[in-house]
Symmetry: C2
Subunit: 498 residues, 2 copies
Amino acid sequence: MTVQEAVNKLDELELKEFALGHAMGILSYDGATAAPKKSYIPRGKTMGCLAGEAYKLTTDKSAVAILDTLRSHADELDDNTIRRLELREKNLKEMRAVPIEQYVEYTELMNEADSAWHEAKEKSDYAIFEPYLRRVIDFTKLFAEKVNPDIAPYDYCLDKYEEGLTMQKAEAFFSALRERIVPLIARVGAAEAPDESVAKVLFPIEKQRALSDILMDKLGLPRDRCAIGETEHPFTTNFTPDDVRITTHYHEKAFLSSMYSVIHEGGHALYELGVDPKFSFTCLSGGVTMGIHESQSRFFENIVGRSRGFIDNLYPDLVRLCPEIGKYSAQDIYRAANKAQPSLIRTEADEVTYPLHIMVRYEMEKKMINGEVNTAELPEMWNAYYKEYLGVTVPNDREGILQDSHWSGAGIGYFPSYALGSAYGAQYLAKMREEMDFDAVVASGDLAPIRAWLGEKIWQYGSSKSPEWILKNALGAPFDPGYYLDYLENKMKDVYGI
Amino acid sequence: MTVQEAVNKLDELELKEFALGHAMGILSYDGATAAPKKSYIPRGKTMGCLAGEAYKLTTDKSAVAILDTLRSHADELDDNTIRRLELREKNLKEMRAVPIEQYVEYTELMNEADSAWHEAKEKSDYAIFEPYLRRVIDFTKLFAEKVNPDIAPYDYCLDKYEEGLTMQKAEAFFSALRERIVPLIARVGAAEAPDESVAKVLFPIEKQRALSDILMDKLGLPRDRCAIGETEHPFTTNFTPDDVRITTHYHEKAFLSSMYSVIHEGGHALYELGVDPKFSFTCLSGGVTMGIHESQSRFFENIVGRSRGFIDNLYPDLVRLCPEIGKYSAQDIYRAANKAQPSLIRTEADEVTYPLHIMVRYEMEKKMINGEVNTAELPEMWNAYYKEYLGVTVPNDREGILQDSHWSGAGIGYFPSYALGSAYGAQYLAKMREEMDFDAVVASGDLAPIRAWLGEKIWQYGSSKSPEWILKNALGAPFDPGYYLDYLENKMKDVYGI
């Protein structure tokens, strides 16, 4: 097989992998948005079949032969082909770590664990979820050992979601955060809290849907390539830059909840919509890591969406859609949207206390993977950490350990990417400020210069570069969490006058 | 390979075929309901891949070997396995009639033809669609010749949608209809037309959505197995009895349009929901032919839904949802819903003139397939037939030859099944009347006895029996279009007093 033949075969293989992944993605999206409840029965069968086909395609000896050919001609390959080769080799190593029966068992476990988690959360009964979580942990440890026995198992987990992340780096990061966030929270706690009543006005759901349309326009999401749906848990899913979906959920008396979900998911969507289409149908398509992904979503949600300029610009639309908001000023909304207070639920947390929610999960995951705690003890440990880190008492497992879906999907190691992403975003902001009057751009309502900056430095590359390369390309300097801490302190100064 | 091994392999093969078909079906449904416009680009790639895989699966020599084994032990097989064998052999013959490249070209043509038809209809410009229709006709003729050179090509087309139908049977049927429908239409035309103004009241779309929920309840559609969506052209799609979808479209000033779409599609859905689940994931799942399918949808739409009892029962809900309807009586709605008048659009046509719309298409298709007309002449021929059969002048191609989607999906031969289905339904009605007080059941609002009758005689069998067997099982007598004509005459007598 010549190099060119191998590349052609790789294109063909990845198109087939794309087709199977695309089909499974649409089946999931349909399941979450439009499908009747019992559709899970045929969907389970189909997903099992397609996942089995995908496994066979990826691990088949003809697929391995393509990689072998490319590897033996590595010095003749261009950068993109080298990156494809590396990503595939990593993935193949993971898939071949266990026999196919076990791999299928693992994918089936994720489906079952997800159902069990939903039921457990609904009933606030951890015991329903516990046996599944135990098996998820066992599988995670097994993969860690088989794929990369030379590194600590939890380092393997971290690297899975943020290429290159280790416990050492994560802990340096968290300790830098802790040093300035803990005293900041104390100062905020001593100051007068903003009035939150504007966040609780009755905002009819039909009108909130109209608000979502306005927000999507303001973010610059092209509707012919990006649709919005409704689900209990908001998420983004993507296929190519021609088809990206976001979802939100509406609560009549909590319009900020959907508003910031739309902006957050909109940030993920902008990233996916901005990837160079030449990567479509290959393994270089799509955002590179969860850390870089969350750096987009949390940038738009918080740095853009929770800014005074953005809220000022949106204010007339808010009043038009919900006249009761006219009793409040834009400044009232700004303060309500930035109220900082230790709380129970991560996804509803403010920017300042948010990283503490992540640190709780980080500490717990580390102990889970290192075997320092058994699954039966986890709820108690969760509650103790929330008391210690956030000072709040967890009333039940539903608002405690069962709140997030990640572990049911075997996403152990995912959480740190949220905090990292937030910190990356603050450093983008500092860099952008060197090149544009950021506040004026946001206040103008036309975010095109911001999209252009992120598009050029980050989005266009998809997965064709490592996250380290992308960060360096965007920042022109090493990552420094000091920017994030400066940003948080300034925000609190502005909101609380402290 | 033993018989048992062959059956096991067949189960495995059909599960995979199901998975690919299910994925493609959900991709289509999503494309019609939720997807952004440009998603057609990745969807096209994925559909092409999955269709190619499905073709390979079905025609692979291992699949053929299963059939060969079963065929050589035909006398040892049970009825269901025999039927599977026969259906697969017929399908295989069709797929192998042309080489794979040509088969792929044909499936691609259907995608392209569908886009072209949409554009042509939007612009009312037949010229956009004509080259695609020409290729569709050529392919249809090619398949007819390759698959079954011993029968007339248009007989091959008819059999595809209604197993066993031939031109001879169709023409006997149509001529029986013509004999009594043409004078009936003349009598109706001479009588005073019902006032239609109730059909044009402003019925807000939110309220029409609530009406759809009520209709689905009244029909007995279980919402955990049947969901409703919104599309320009209403349709039903099904996967297993655990997942069936119907769609409708809402127009603020034409509530009967959506109402009868929901009931029509609901009839299709009831059929699919009532198939014995033991046939799921095999080629015996799903309704047997389009004729039997349309006999369910048109039974519920017309015989149930356009009856005085059904409308009486629904009336309080209609007035509650749309108080302006309170100015009219249930009898006014009944008469408006049954107004008979020659018109341009098949899907909006009344029960009496409906078969004439079908006859136009039948005559044209026959000439198309027999090469008696070239595609450039078709619009003129369409308009001439509408003048001759219905006495109406077609103002443009959008409301003329471009109105239906069937030909763009290569559905030549499909239309007669609508008229046949309507006629089957009238004979079910006569049979049901022997066993229940049909009018009282409909007026009671609880259609369970009707569902039980259809479920037992028809639905449960899925595709495990031929349509002839099913009809005979339901009717206990040969099919006789006289029942249909009696029904139509009685209906018009009741509505027009003629």
